[in-house]
């Protein structure tokens, strides 16, 4: 390797340290015995504390419920949508999806809050788990459509035509030919939708009710209050879980 290549490699190493070190250090200190940022020996106390905190357990349950329901619904809707758009583009729908992707989260959040308040005036429907789930479905559909669409683009359209020629109806052609072929893309999309939903704070905090506090909302509140190794422990668990999910998703997407 020449000198320029070596310099580039050293630079890249620095860049990767910049990207990964903060999370690694954060996780390392979740095993620290002391509650301050001075290393005083290994301990699992903070994980123990995190597991036995009623508020945290509730937040985990809420976050998982929301993420699972939102993922299932948005994956089904998004996959059907991508397929429909693949057959023939609909600029209005594609444009709305694209716009929903670039809209700042805070704007999405307050506009959802506004419509929920407006509905509340007429139907007396308070904020809660259902409003959060609906919001999450709305913002994850675009992610699903993009990932599934990328997969559809690599597919040979003549396979479906062959099925149609052989007497399958359009639904059967989709269900038995196209869907199995794009399944890895659909699963990758679902995993991605799960991480976006599980992680969201900004939109969720605006549309959540009293009984729908999620994990990110709790982490935010705890982080605001000050140093707390319990937050490090939860963070480490989240990073590990979401990291694994993303790696699987990437694998499936690029396969």
């Amino acid at each position: 390797m020449n000198r320029k290549g070596l310099a580039l490699s050293i630079y890249a190493l620095g860049a990767y340290l910049f990207l990964h070190l903060p999370l690694l250090i954060l996780s390392a200190f979740s095993f620290n015995h002391s509650r301050f940022t001075v290393w005083q020996g290994f301990s699992l106390d903070w994980y123990w504390a995190a597991m036995h905190d009623a508020q945290l357990t509730d937040a985990w349950r809420n976050s998982l419920t929301i993420a699972v329901v939102a993922t299932v619904v948005s994956t089904i809707m998004g996959t059907l949508c991508a397929y429909g758009l693949w057959k023939r583009n609909s600029p209005m729908l594609a444009g709305s999806l694209y716009l929903s992707l670039v809209t700042p989260e805070i704007v999405t959040g307050i506009s959802l809050l506004a419509i929920y308040q407006w509905i509340f005036r007429f139907l007396r429907l308070p904020l809660g788990m259902h409003t959060v789930i609906l919001a999450h479905i709305a913002f994850s559909i675009a992610f699903v459509v993009i990932v599934v669409m990328a997969r559809l683009r690599t597919m040979d359209a003549s396979l479906e035509e062959a099925a149609l020629d052989l007497g399958a109806n359009p639904w059967q052609a989709f269900r038995f030919i196209t869907l199995p072929l794009i399944l890895p893309g659909v699963i990758a999309a679902a995993l991605l939708a799960f991480t976006v939903s599980f992680d969201d704070y900004v939109i969720t905090s605006l549309v959540a009710g009293v009984n729908s506090e999620t994990l990110p909302m709790l982490i935010y509140a705890m982080a605001r209050r000050g140093v707390n190794p319990v937050v490090n422990a939860i963070s480490a668990m989240i990073v590990l879980t979401l990291g694994a999910i993303i790696l699987i998703s990437e694998r499936l997407r690029t396969r």
Binding site: K4, L8, Y11, A12, A15, L19, P22, L23, I25, L26, F36, T37, V38, I76, M77, L80, C81, Y83, G84, L85, K87, R88, S90, L93, A94, S96, L97, Y98, S100, V102, T103, P104, E105, I106, V107, I110, S111, A114, I115, A135, I137, A138, I141, P170, L192, T195, D199, Y201, I219, Y220, A223, V227, S235, I238, V239, L242, I246, L247, E250, T254
Partner: protein, 276 residues
């Protein structure tokens, strides 16, 4: 076939209409209403909220947001370009190196921001370390300033810059660089006169992908900037919660949306195709 296709699109259409387009329409309506006595809304229709945007205080916040987002974008470009170059030249391990850039991006925005709070605060790792080494006696004020916000934004959105840069560098014909060198161009001249112009689409795409979320950032300035570093996102949130001035909050939101859309059309028109 067409009827089936309509059924396929219908659920997504319903969700986008009810939970994205209708809410935006309501915000649009709110932005022309008047703030009621108890923070509610009342008629008559007025454009007063938009006129208030011209107030120097709010123009200041707008300018500050542009400045912070612009600086973060430039830093992402400067830091991301060599990294993208490295990845595009690393042969078989390309995918691994690319995954290493993408991985932290998808693993919890909130946790990554908290990680910087953990490192930068007065009793955080950096200050504790420097103090125990005897280099400083008072903790350095690393957190709750604009620098911390820019750092957080660069850290969060660097992958958005690296990915499109990598995509163009990957397709770059390396013989062009060799030709430039053969013809006597120095490395710096090759970079500025050959490589950068050829990578223009990637640079444009990356800049827009980083600038837009930075401009509308809420969580990063909120957590890393403390109360001091207010950006547009925080101003909007404030109008809808503490200040309870919904018409004004709605007007700022739409102004932000308008800026985002103008930017998209002006810079990313050629690049946005293929995203959907």
């Amino acid at each position: 076939m067409n009827r089936l296709r309509a059924w396929f699109l219908a659920p997504s259409w319903a969700v986008m209409l009810a939970l994205f387009l209708a809410p935006l329409a309501i915000i649009l309506a709110y932005s022309f209403e008047t703030r009621g006595a108890y923070g509610g809304l009342s008629l008559p229709w007025t454009a007063e909220s938009y006129a208030r945007l011209a107030d120097p205080i709010y123009l200041g916040i707008l300018w500050r947001s542009f400045w912070i987002a612009g600086l973060s974008t430039v830093l992402c470009l400067v830091l991301g370009f060599p990294l993208a170059l490295f990845i595009s030249r690393s042969g078989k391990r390309k995918h691994l190196y690319l995954s290493l850039v993408i991985l932290p991006f998808w693993t919890s925005f909130l946790v990554r921001t908290y990680a910087w709070m953990f490192l930068l605060r007065d009793t955080g790792l950096i200050n504790t370390l420097l103090q125990s080494l005897g280099l400083i006696h008072e903790p350095l004020p690393l957190l709750y300033n604009d620098g911390a916000v820019v750092l957080g934004l660069v850290y969060s959105y660097l992958p958005f810059m690296v990915l499109p840069l990598y995509a163009t560098l990957e397709r770059l014909d390396r013989t062009l660089l060799e030709a430039a060198a053969d013809l006597g161009a120095r490395p710096w001249a090759t970079l500025t006169h050959v490589m950068v112009p050829l990578c223009a689409p990637g640079i444009r795409a990356g800049a827009i992908l980083v600038f837009i979320p930075c401009l509308g950032a809420y969580l990063t300035p909120d957590l890393l900037g403390g109360g001091k570093s207010v950006m547009i996102g925080n101003l909007i949130q404030n109008q809808f919660t503490t200040a309870r001035d919904w018409p004004f909050g709605a007007a700022i939101s739409l102004a932000l949306m308008a800026i985002v859309m103008v930017l998209l059309f002006a810079f990313a028109r050629r690049d946005q195709e293929g995203l959907l």
